[in-house]
Symmetry: C2
Subunit: 733 residues, 2 copies
Amino acid sequence: MDFLDEPFPDVGTYEDFHTIDWLREKSRDTDRHRKITSKSKESIWEFIKSLLDAWSGWLVMLLIGLLSGTLAGVIDLAVDWMTDLKEGVCLSALWYSHEQCCWTSNETTFADRDKCPQWQKWAELMTGYTEGAGVYLLNYFLYVLWALFFSFLAVSLVRVFAPYACGSGIPEIKTILSGFIIRGYLGKWTLLIKTVTLVLAVSSGLSLGKEGPLVHVACCCGNLFCSLFSKYSKNEGKRREVLSAAAAAGVSVAFGAPIGGVLFSLEEVSYYFPLKTLWRSFFAALVAAFTLRSINPFGNNRLVLFYVEYHTPWYMAELVPFILLGVFGGLWGTLFIRCNIYPVLEVIVVTGITAVLAFPNPYTRRSTSELISELFNDCGSLESSQLCDYINNPNMSRPVDDIPDRPAGPGVYSALWQLTLALVFKIVITIFTFGMKIPSGLFIPSMAVGAIAGRIVGIAVEQMAYHHHDWIIFKNWCRPGADCVTPGLYAMVGAAACLGGVTRMTVSLVVIMFELTGGLEYIVPLMAAAVTSKWVADAFGKEGIYEAHIQLNGYPYLDQDEFTHRTLATDVMRPRRNEPPLALLTQDSTTVEDVETLIKDTDYNGFPVVVSHESERLIGFVQRRDLILAIKSARQKQDGVVSNSVVHFTEDAPQIPASNPQPLKLRRILNLSPFTVTDHTPMETVVDIFRKLGLRQCLVTRSGRLLGIITKKDVLRHMAQMMNQDPESIMFN
Amino acid sequence: MDFLDEPFPDVGTYEDFHTIDWLREKSRDTDRHRKITSKSKESIWEFIKSLLDAWSGWLVMLLIGLLSGTLAGVIDLAVDWMTDLKEGVCLSALWYSHEQCCWTSNETTFADRDKCPQWQKWAELMTGYTEGAGVYLLNYFLYVLWALFFSFLAVSLVRVFAPYACGSGIPEIKTILSGFIIRGYLGKWTLLIKTVTLVLAVSSGLSLGKEGPLVHVACCCGNLFCSLFSKYSKNEGKRREVLSAAAAAGVSVAFGAPIGGVLFSLEEVSYYFPLKTLWRSFFAALVAAFTLRSINPFGNNRLVLFYVEYHTPWYMAELVPFILLGVFGGLWGTLFIRCNIYPVLEVIVVTGITAVLAFPNPYTRRSTSELISELFNDCGSLESSQLCDYINNPNMSRPVDDIPDRPAGPGVYSALWQLTLALVFKIVITIFTFGMKIPSGLFIPSMAVGAIAGRIVGIAVEQMAYHHHDWIIFKNWCRPGADCVTPGLYAMVGAAACLGGVTRMTVSLVVIMFELTGGLEYIVPLMAAAVTSKWVADAFGKEGIYEAHIQLNGYPYLDQDEFTHRTLATDVMRPRRNEPPLALLTQDSTTVEDVETLIKDTDYNGFPVVVSHESERLIGFVQRRDLILAIKSARQKQDGVVSNSVVHFTEDAPQIPASNPQPLKLRRILNLSPFTVTDHTPMETVVDIFRKLGLRQCLVTRSGRLLGIITKKDVLRHMAQMMNQDPESIMFN
């Protein structure tokens, strides 16, 4: 048997920072599948192996769900504990957070559940005093110190052990899912360091969230489990199916929203998403969500992060403030994206400033998720929060849930001031935070900005309605004594608007918010705000934050936007006029030396093979990497192959004199079905083909003669040019 | 100016029962878009027109949502009224249903809300008596008579006015969305007749539902509104985007589940579903759902059809019966599909049998949705249904919602018998009903079968748990006095399983059921049942009912399943060995007469154009329809074009002697970028290309020479052959 009929080692793998060929991956998987199916009839053992192979997809999903749910739970618990550690410590058990510490204490009543003797602030522990300016300052100082310590630890760990662990990771994951190779980006080290530093970064009080990084963590889990099954580890296409599902699991645990997670993966992250993946993603997302719930880090037995229950419907007139919040969200998105694509300040400086400015204001001192939770909240009559300090009418005795409209008390007014300051602070500090070299997500900070703005608007509308029942706009739906405006709903709408402005999510945004609230009731306000925010932000620039970061990094990402320019394949293909002719191989007249010279002189990823230089009729395409490997292997193992040997891609060796050295047959590595288009093909069709079939390159012919080649990079460069961007910004292949 | 530079009338349209070319449609739309964009800079008026054009997509969605929501509301109200009309009539207002009649009556107490003097059964009205065997028989007789009348009317209307209005319509809509042309299938007449006959068919009491037909109705609305905008009416590709969204709106109103509707459209119905469509579908689905809610046909102000609220969690051990229900659902699906792809009994006969058998059993007499609603219901202490006839412990006073477990009363036992009979009846009659020549959906009947089975299992488990608290399986979670088994949940799980077995829906099924219940809590049982049912049913045959019907009708539908056989393009292309050579045109040496002969002698949809018969190098592809139109038009309008004229596809006219007649330039209709693959391309890649790019045909070349052609029909025939099916079953092009 000809040894060349055996595959060369490593033939069909890809180099780092290169793009995969989806069609080839798919066809390799089909081959694998065929082999297993035909073998499975041979013996019971092979049959069981084939069953295992068929079930491995579900098994991987189960494992991803379990691990990412567990990690999310551990992260939540650790963040909870470390955030409180900045303020004080639990004497009964050091590893208890403030809330857990006081839960286990029996001495406290319901009213002051967060004041219990076991929980001591640092100053109290060190000095014995609980009041006074000195104590306050000492607590302030220690708070800042802890924050600096956490962020220093985080930034050092990232810098030393896993530089890929920084940022949100979603732009890179989008790029990877579109078929790009970034080795180590989803590796074990990245997983470990990202998990640890995420806890540190969030606990340090920086204005960042854990949602994007959780997607990255889940994808690392996915990649980890892929390596257990050759079906996934050896096929870059199949691996990406698993990663798409893992991304869904990540969002699912970040928000307790499995359906929203699947839609997020489909809408925002994934590139190739067959229906089979949809079903599996849903499974992984559910397993992850239920694993997280059984860990129960929030102690409320709920899947969702911000559980809200409103008792009042919304009214058509309220659409006006909702749409205004949408406009605000769009503007915030634009501002954030514009300012944010230029990194990077020093982490420690930003942490210091954040901590110093955050401590005095109660709304910025607590963790951002707690803040959002409080802002979303409806003020039931049992609420003790400052935001719920309304002047209740003592004559009315009503059920807990039915609250008439009330004038705001002094607490609400002081909360309004503090919220306004918090809004300005959050806007500025979030812009500086994202893009630093630590794990950082933007969901929660963006939502916080929107929630603060929304709550302020909500309280304003509420008080206006209370004091002016006779105004025409309120007359129809807001009679005295009725509960007509829910400021918490405004906060939720604002949060959705700001998140939408930054990420440009649509369906998945509404579904995530819907899963948070659990009622279809409020979908229309959410949708109105999301649509407005997207339109406003789109008017200033089509790209969401992830696309902006992809472009900043020059990743070769072919997005789903339609290409509408009137160019033809012939305008894009290489060689252009004045360029040297296309680097070709002929089917039976090139020597090993010629090939080696060609490889040395050019850096193309592959070469077309033609019948002869005269006819230029196309036979196939051969990858540079495969060619190098094949020649190297042949020179080592195959006798008689020397520099003078003729390389042939035909079935039979060419007729050569007996004195010539033995020819080298390379048909095995020749792709006999290269993709071709004619030179008259409109570029919109070419772009469509590249996108839908996931090609690396495409050959251009005219009436059967090879004219040139179009690579993915050429397409991206051309698209950048057409949009008046710098075509040289596309950096990788 | 050469008149041929103007487009010929009708060039670029398709014939009935032909497949569209997605790439061409897309490229035509891009052209249109470019024209509008460049024109919009010319004047204010053109700018406004371009804005209108950009917004027309959203406008169409709004209109579809409004109309399909309204139609669904009207259908619901009419069905309600006519179903009751079989039993009696409201004296205060003839157009009131039983429930509405007694609502408006003040004389009734809460307990007997469905007994009021204004509502009279037919026998009571005619004879004055309310009791006795004669009265019963008279009511029975009139019930059957009304049913026969309704179904007779329905079947006659369908037969005379709109034969396309029969069936569920989903198989045809799937085929249409995949790019097939069926003229009139979504026309105004079909819309009208389907709406009317759907009401008649459902009211007649046949075992059929309105969900599938509602999707068809919504798609007809979509098609109707497409005709208002040339953007959609003149582009078959864009039209299909609208139709995909309309299908989502249809499911949305059928179940009050907008997210489920979008996922159903994505997973089950649509073929080409860009992300833009996702967002618009969601919008249409929401508008439709809210329109329906403002009509409020069920009088409960809810979006959902079967609103349920359970108060008990489920326990791990219950997964066993849930999975058993999944197995049942899979078996039911298999049985249904096997029996159902052979139509058709006479409608009147089936209606007669249904009515005669259905009347005596209270569970089959009422409308199927009411039945399902009752089966899903949790037995609160206020329920008066026979199914809730438990023996309550009078010593316990508990809140309404907290029900301890109780022994079943005599009502429950007699209900069990009646349910068992109803189950058998439903299974048999549903099989005979679907596929008859009237509008008929299978969602509700399938769900009913599952719900009955589920409720029976649920009651059995519940009573077992009550009587055997000490058994190991119950010990851990079912202490005496605790409310541990919810039979309604079993009914819901059973319904999901049976629906899943028939349709093989996955994510959309779970999401629809989740939207019905409104709680994430029960997703795991639903998912376990749905997965089991799909696996069991898949073991007996991979196709769902819609695919089975598509195959039965021989529609050219290329489904998403992976093609795994090891064949090459050369095995599939025409001409085969022993067949006459490919029908070709040359670029500048064919005469008008030659072309006309070729058109007369063959029935191919198009012809490749080559440089010359000797070289066989490909230039382009020309459609038969365009060729006929162009020659006809040229013969009429262009002087000097006679049978002897040379047809040329080149830029410049060929060099011909002056004595020869004037040549006919046809480059205008030549597709210069036909799709080609090499003869070595694996068929799995070819199938992938056909599916993803939506091709009609693809040319096969070897080293630049044209070898043959593969059409969509060839691909489908080959796939059928590989699966040992009759390749001649594919009937259309």
